[in-house]
């Protein structure tokens, strides 16, 4: 950590300029700071710093390293390093990002490196993506140039990923049990 190195004493606008800034509480995001997230509807209105037009997503920039779990009800954009599981709605793993762990989401885009697993309804592995591990999906796109070392299984949303094994239930009771457990696919369990 180099943040407290000697050059701390170079003139810092911090203490003197603070009182002026304190009139505007949270809007300290510089306007040009966010190049990454695509235009996205602000999911919350309340405390969103909408004044500077920043979409209310989470951005893990390339200098940030997180060790631990991320859980979000919003979109997450990762450009840095995450060592742990990620749960979000839309998760975008940027070009230089490194993720070690499982990524859960509705839509997951991998343009960086993932070591672990991806579980999402819609998965995009971009051409710069490097995926070491399994992908559980419903809908997948793999761009030319992407690296995948793992299985791609279209089992997202199916219980426990064992859908293939239970396709032919042995007894009718098992069939009814199973179809009640997952009403999305009654036809398959009967067949």
């Amino acid at each position: 950590m180099t943040m407290f190195s000697r050059n701390d004493k170079t003139p810092e606008p911090a203490p003197a300029a603070k009182p002026v800034a304190s009139a505007t509480p949270i809007n300290t995001v510089p306007p040009a700071s966010q190049s990454a997230p695509a235009p996205m509807e602000p999911r919350r209105v309340s405390a969103a710093p909408a004044a500077h037009g920043t979409p209310s997503v989470s951005v893990i920039s390339k200098a940030l390293k997180i060790t631990g779990q991320l859980e979000s009800t919003e979109d997450i954009h990762i450009e840095g390093e995450v060592d742990g599981d990620i749960r979000g709605v839309g998760v975008k793993i940027g070009h230089n990002a490194r993720v070690k762990g499982t990524v859960y989401g509705e839509e997951v885009e991998v343009a960086g490196t993932v070591v672990g697993k991806v579980e999402a309804r819609k998965v995009v592995i971009a051409s710069t993506g490097h995926m070491s591990g399994d992908v559980v999906h419903q809908d997948i796109r793999i761009d030319s140039g992407a690296y995948i070392d793992g299985h791609c299984r279209p089992e997202y949303g199916k219980p426990d990923g064992k859908a293939h094994a239970i396709q032919k239930p042995a007894t009718p009771t098992a069939a009814t049990n199973y179809s009640s457990a997952k009403p999305a696919e009654p036809a398959r369990s009967i067949a």
Binding site: M1, T2, M3, F4, S5, R6, D8, K9, E12, A14, P15, K18, P19, S22, P25, I26, T28, V29, P30, S33, Q34, R43, R44, S46, A47, A48, P49, T54, S56, V57, S58, V59, I60, S61, K62, A63, L64, K65, I66, T67, G68, Q69, L70, E71, S72, T73, E74, D75, I76, E79, G80, G84, G88
Partner: protein, 117 residues
Amino acid sequence: MPLSRIGSGLTVTGSLETDGELHVHGKVQGSLCADRLVLAMDGEVEGDIVAREARICGRVNGRVFALNVTVDSTADIKGRIFHHTVEVARGARVDARMPWRPLNFFETLEQIPETQP
């Protein structure tokens, strides 16, 4: 330096470390380490904050180690604030000790010291 943002819907359990700026609108359970940290009004931190410059508008339960600390009127802090300069706005709820530390305390802050609760 790039800016990182923990959105209001995001909960991080673990530690965050950056050389740049970090804005926290969500919840963090664990330690935060940044050059400049802004804890927004809706942000919550349960754990330690280490920064060169910290601006706190949200809730903190833990220790703050920062050269320059600004406590906004919406802040709710419980714990300790180790600082070199501090500013506390009227209206802030501070249930914390605020020990002053010399500059070299922060320069040598490689790992967070143990303190009495």
